[in-house]
Symmetry: C2
């Protein structure tokens, strides 16, 4: 029997355990706040093994960063490029899907925002990915604006509005819970409502003048 990784039974290999622990902690707390010893403890392995597999904390982080950023944008690509859907349908579907994704990964937005504030890494990859996401959808929106079906508006505003309505609540969750006294349950109920509301609001925004 050929096995790349040797292990007693059917256990998860150490390298994978380290990655899982790193993903959890880095996503929750960010690069600086996580210590290599935290990761080793969370993974249930020895500190030395982390450096054995990943050479350094930074290298391990880079792996997680790329994976997280992909999760952050990947979901948008197939829906936004779907020529069989109307613009309204795309907005509704993307909003709903994205809010669902964020409910399962509530720390993802802050992680991306926080880490992209510092690093300049992986810029090329990111820019390329986003080009694919935007091209088709943007052209259709611009066409609708020219035809007078939508109020003419800089694409940056639309992107900020979408992100602001969909993503921001997850970034602001701690503040909202402290300031407004929301419970986790209440917050979750509001997010569920927003799956239907955000598309309505985005449509209203795009037609308002």
């Amino acid at each position: 029997m050929i096995m790349a990784k040797a292990k007693k039974k059917e256990e998860v290999p150490a390298e994978e355990k380290i990655k899982q622990a790193a993903r959890k902690l880095f996503t929750e707390r960010g690069f600086d706040a996580v210590k290599t010893r935290d990761i080793a403890a969370e993974a249930g392995i020895n500190l030395a093994l982390l450096n054995y597999y990943f050479r350094s904390k930074q290298k391990l982080f880079d792996v997680i960063m790329v994976e997280n950023f992909e999760q952050f944008v990947q979901q948008l690509i197939p829906v936004m490029g779907d020529e069989n859907l109307s613009l309204d349908e795309i907005i509704a579907k993307v909003s709903g899907n994205y809010i669902d994704m964020l409910r399962n990964n509530p720390d993802l937005p802050f992680f991306i925002l926080n880490e992209m504030k510092n690093e300049s890494s992986e810029l090329l990859v990111i820019r390329e990915k986003m080009k694919d996401v935007k091209s088709g959808f943007i052209k259709r929106v611009e066409k609708a604006m020219k035809e007078g079906k939508l109020t003419p508006l800089h694409m940056g505003h639309l992107m900020m509005n979408f992100m602001g309505l969909v993503i921001f609540p997850f970034v602001a969750k701690p503040v909202l819970m402290k300031v407004n006294g929301f419970s986790n349950k209440e917050f979750d109920a509001l997010m569920d409502e927003r799956k239907d509301l955000v598309p309505i609001w985005l449509k209203a925004i795009m037609k308002a003048k």
Copy 2:
């Protein structure tokens, strides 16, 4: 001549220099990323003096945190409570004022979001401050909803929408600049436009169904 702080000429006292340096660095980078030696260097004073005046990094940070949070909310209070303005006027004025304030303090939102994710400090003060902000305005909105002038909606949604449209762009600025290739100038121009656009959009949102 009686002077609490002794100094050669008309210089800014060391305690104030430390606070100013601390405010700048903490607001830009957050608690963890700022080292006491950074603050001392930025203030042009010796490291020992920082601990002499403020006892510890944490104590110094607490001072800055309170001041920053006050700036974050204080501006809202007088306008939102102004009974002489219509709801539309309040929304327009608050949006414009707040975007202007954030253009002068672009790092403030992320600072608040980041630090409130961790700490539980100053909860009482915060909660009290926010009660003042909300009470009057909220009652008027709820009344308008009951009268059918606005679409009935959980107040949490309205707050998220306002913050999402006004504040989020400043939090996402690094991402937007990297992903969309915005320059500082372009971003600033968009923010200027939003002073007029956000009130229009918020009104559209509150009437949409």
